[in-house]
């Protein structure tokens, strides 16, 4: 633990060895170490979670948060260090043992059976039965009580979980943790797939867990969320805990500098760029089933942001522009030409698309960096279908250097890279194909702060080079800082496009949640 406090003089509001007055620590992890082969995933990590408190666990990708939580939930065994749960040594031999001891994990991807009812899901694996027969009424009472405790007493127990929104599915998963009599609940980036108002509901639920005397560990990239829900924080960097303290008494700059280990000059670096000639025009573009009748025009050297709730049609707009989704109506003009609505034709016309789903769609995870970076344009290295692999490798080396990708070399498989470096490869691909219009869908999602700043700078640089960029994001601060104009989508329609300076987070949200078109 000493290492932890030594590095965080400014932030340690709780001294080691002295029990806090608020509550005794429910969970203490001390000097946890873990190695995978030659790499130290965790060098020396300590953290304390108290009953009735939310501990925010902060750190860039690769800082060791997931490894630490996998040790807590019994997936990995630590190489050194000790864990105490409610004053007793705790060393789970597997996930089941951890659950029995009262540690519950809520992951980004939920662990629910979509074809079972809410009741069945809540009691999955802990069914109440006699002689093998399920005791229905007892089960229903338990499930209803758990839901009521989370403020969702009205939810029908018989609904199939697959039909619920992601937000409600999360509630079911939390209710299951309650029924398992969890004492520590870990949320691993729970808001990444939630719409804005679901985030508020989730925070309500977390406050209820707090009120019920549970310890909550909350992992997130978003400092705003930590500010909203966290009581205390612990920052991990490179497998060490580098600081802890009260959220209320820390500034964002302090936390960010702890995360990245240096001062970040600017979170949103600006590169001067001038909009030029129009390059892309959407005319009453409608996809199947959304977007509906979207018209706008984009100029070279311009960054157009698209805001909106999840499901508002932002992703669908990009996919329809790129020819991945069918066009129902309307058309797309790229430099006076009308390319056919297929990805191949749109790529030839100068469009490039970076998917929001790096793992499932954006990159072929088991293929090498060079394969992924050049897949959309192999022509420069091929003659009559035969490739010059050496020339290709050289070109990819150039891109790795230009984008400052941390990798062993062009032959390294994608899945070995961190999220930020994977995203750089996805960007390298559209740059390599010399796209003139870049369609970027959540390009900074799941990426650490330092790399985000690099990507903003790159986007600005590309605009300065005369490329046109459409930047879809749920993270309004980056849209407001990076874009020239911002369009807001709601229910499949583009409600308004205005210069970024005329928007604020509040006006964007007001329009994004509005139902009727008059609001535009």
């Amino acid at each position: 633990m000493a290492a932890c406090w030594r590095r965080s003089g400014w932030a340690s509001s709780i001294k080691p060895g002295r029990k806090s007055d608020v509550a005794a620590p429910l969970l203490e992890m001390l000097g946890i170490r873990k190695r995978f082969g030659a790499t130290h995933a965790l060098r020396e990590v300590s953290l304390t979670a108290r009953a009735g408190e939310v501990l925010a666990l902060i750190g860039e990708n690769g800082a060791g948060k997931s490894t630490l939580m996998k040790i807590l939930s019994g997936v990995y065994q630590p190489d050194g260090g000790a864990i105490q749960l409610a004053g007793r040594p705790y060393a789970p031999q597997g996930p089941a043992a951890a659950r029995r001891a009262g540690v519950a994990m809520i992951y980004q991807e939920l662990n629910l059976a979509p074809d079972l009812s809410i009741e069945d899901n809540i009691l999955l694996g802990q069914e109440r039965s006699r002689f093998g027969l399920v005791k229905r009424s007892e089960q229903r009472t338990i499930a209803r009580a758990a839901l009521a405790q989370l403020g969702h007493a009205a939810l029908s127990l018989d609904l199939l979980v697959g039909r619920l929104s992601v937000g409600l599915q999360q509630v079911v998963e939390i209710a299951r943790a309650l029924v398992q009599q969890a004492r520590v609940v870990v949320f691993d980036e729970p808001t990444s797939s939630l719409a804005r108002h679901d985030v508020e509901h989730l925070f309500e639920v977390i406050r209820k867990l707090k009120g019920a005397g549970l310890a909550v560990i909350y992992i997130s990239h978003f400092l705003e969320e930590i500010r909203a829900i966290g009581d205390r924080y612990t920052v991990l960097r490179d497998g060490e805990s580098v600081g802890s303290g009260n959220v209320a008494s820390a500034t964002e700059a302090q936390i960010v500098s702890l995360m990245v280990g240096r001062q970040i000059a600017e979170l949103f670096p600006q590169v001067a760029h001038q909009p030029g000639a129009p390059i892309l025009t959407a005319e009453q573009l409608s996809g199947a089933p959304i977007p509906e009748h979207v018209s706008f025009s984009l100029r070279r050297g311009e960054i157009l942001g698209i805001a909106g709730l999840v499901g508002a049609g932002r992703t669908e707009l990009l996919r329809t522009l790129f020819g991945l989704n069918a066009t129902r109506h309307g058309g797309v003009l790229v430099e006076q030409l009308r390319p056919r609505p297929t990805p191949r034709a749109r790529i030839r016309a100068g469009l490039g698309f970076v998917s929001e789903d790096r793992k499932g769609e954006g990159l072929a995870q088991i293929r090498s960096i060079e394969d992924n970076a050049t897949l959309s344009r192999l022509a420069p290295y091929s003659r009559a279908g035969w490739l010059n692999l050496r020339r290709r490798r050289q070109a990819v080396r150039g891109w790795l250097a230009r984008l400052q990708v941390k990798a062993r070399g062009p032959e390294q498989p994608i899945h070995e890279l961190s999220g930020g470096n994977q995203q750089k490869i996805a960007l390298a691909r559209v740059l390599h194909q010399e796209a003139q219009v870049l369609l970027l869908d959540e390009p900074t999602r799941g990426i650490d702060v330092g790399t985000k700043a690099e990507i903003y700078r790159l986007i600005g640089q590309l605009a300065a080079d005369g490329k046109a960029i459409i930047f879809v994001s749920s993270y309004l601060p980056e849209l407001l800082a990076v874009c020239d104009r911002i369009g807001v989508m709601a229910r499949g329609r583009l409600r308004a496009i205005r210069p970024a300076g005329e928007w604020s987070e509040e006006t964007i949200m007001a329009l994004a949640v509005s139902d009727d078109e008059a609001a535009a």
């Binding site: 030659a38 790129f322 991945l324 297929t342 990805p343 191949r344 749109r346 790529i347 030839r348 698309f353 998917s355 499932g360 769609e361 954006g362 990159l363 072929a364 995870q365 088991i366 293929r367 394969d371 992924n372 897949l375 959309s376 192999l378 091929s382 279908g385 035969w386 490739l387 692999l389 790795l400 250097a401 400052q404 990708v405 941390k406 990798a407 062993r408 070399g409 390294q412 899945h415 691909r429």
Partner: protein, 336 residues
């Protein structure tokens, strides 16, 4: 600013790659050594003889050629259950052509062309109907069986010896003539085809597209690859290899037998899987497939030499298939 990793890390990665590439070959060496030793102690000491090794190579070659096509299909993320009955159809067409007195080259062209057509039909059905390849080729497996019975008029087709060009059965001579060939022409043909396929997979745009398609179809689509055309090309190529495998089939039997291809698809797929390919697509190697095919034949031959009953061969083969899949799973898990 590029972080290249320490030399030792790079070396470790390279050794890992090498091991996974050579794994099937090592397994083959183990199988051969095991049977040579076991046979020396308990059997007639015939397993390790040049004659027996030549026999194994010759009897593997036909399956190996069909498995080359299946390798491409499986790397592209597909599966082809129809390869067995398709190659029997090709052999039957060849036999019918020869018996009808066609010029041998025309009959051979018809044989290979039938294979290409059968593969092409698989590809078209899979990409146009957008149905899983397992179901489509399960259907065409039956269709091609029915077609070959139709062509053969519900019997086996045996051309007169004079109608069969001598080099066709000679393709599978165990003791080659001239002796400096070491193994029969059929084995060399299979090796040449394998080398050609390695080059196509490694050094062509089409090869890159096949790997991309198998590792992530969504990515392939997003990169502007014409997914449907690539699939049709992949299955047609597999059909081409099935057509050549039909030549071997005919060369071995000197007759066209519609039933001779039944069950072959399982041996073909087993060879590819033992060779280290992943049924999830995106991974597989030609060298591995050849080793896989040889392993299967070496086990069959070894068990026979040891005087073990047929039943043991099947059990050992099954265990090896499962072991190969487990190895693949372990690799996948490491990936996550």
């Amino acid at each position: 600013m590029i972080h290249l990793g320490s030399p030792s890390q790079r070396a470790t990665a390279r050794v890992g790659q090498l091991l996974s590439a050579l794994g099937p070959l090592l397994a083959l060496a183990c199988v051969v050594l095991f049977f040579t030793a076991a046979d020396a102690f308990y059997g007639g000491n015939t397993f390790g003889t040049v004659h027996n090794l030549r026999t194994i190579a010759v009897s593997t070659s036909g399956v190996a050629v069909a498995a080359l096509g299946a390798t491409v299909v499986i790397i592209a993320g597909g599966i082809d259950l129809s390869v067995g009955t398709a190659l029997a159809l090709c052999a039957t067409v060849l036999a019918v052509g020869l018996r009808a007195g066609w010029c041998p080259w025309l009959a051979i062209a018809a044989c290979i062309g039938t294979g290409c057509l059968a593969g092409c039909l698989n590809g078209i059905l899979i990409s146009v109907l957008d149905v899983g390849p397992f179901i489509v080729t399960l259907g065409t497996m039956s269709i091609y069986y029915g077609l070959s019975k139709l062509v053969a008029d519900e019997t086996t087709v045996r051309p007169l010896p004079a109608q069969v060009p001598q080099w066709l059965p000679d393709l599978l001579q165990i003791e080659p003539e001239p002796g400096w060939l070491l193994v029969s022409r059929g084995v060399w043909l299979a090796v040449l085809l394998a080398i050609a396929l390695v080059c196509v997979l490694r050094y062509t745009v089409f090869g890159r597209h096949v790997f991309a398609l198998g590792s992530n179809e969504a990515t392939a689509r997003l990169c502007g690859i014409r997914v449907s055309w690539t699939k049709i090309a992949v299955y047609t190529l597999a059909g081409f290899f099935a057509g050549i495998a039909g030549l071997y089939n005919f060369g071995r039997l000197t007759q066209g037998d519609p039933t001779s291809g039944r069950g072959v698809e399982l041996i073909v797929i087993a060879a590819v899987v033992i060779g280290g390919a992943s049924l999830n697509g995106g991974r597989g190697s030609v060298l591995g497939t050849l080793a896989g095919a040889l392993i299967i034949r070496a086990i069959t031959s070894g068990c026979t030499q040891l005087g073990l009953p047929n039943s043991y061969q099947d059990i050992v083969l099954g265990a090896i298939i499962i072991a190969a899949v487990v190895v693949d799973q372990l690799r996948q898990r490491r990936l996550e």
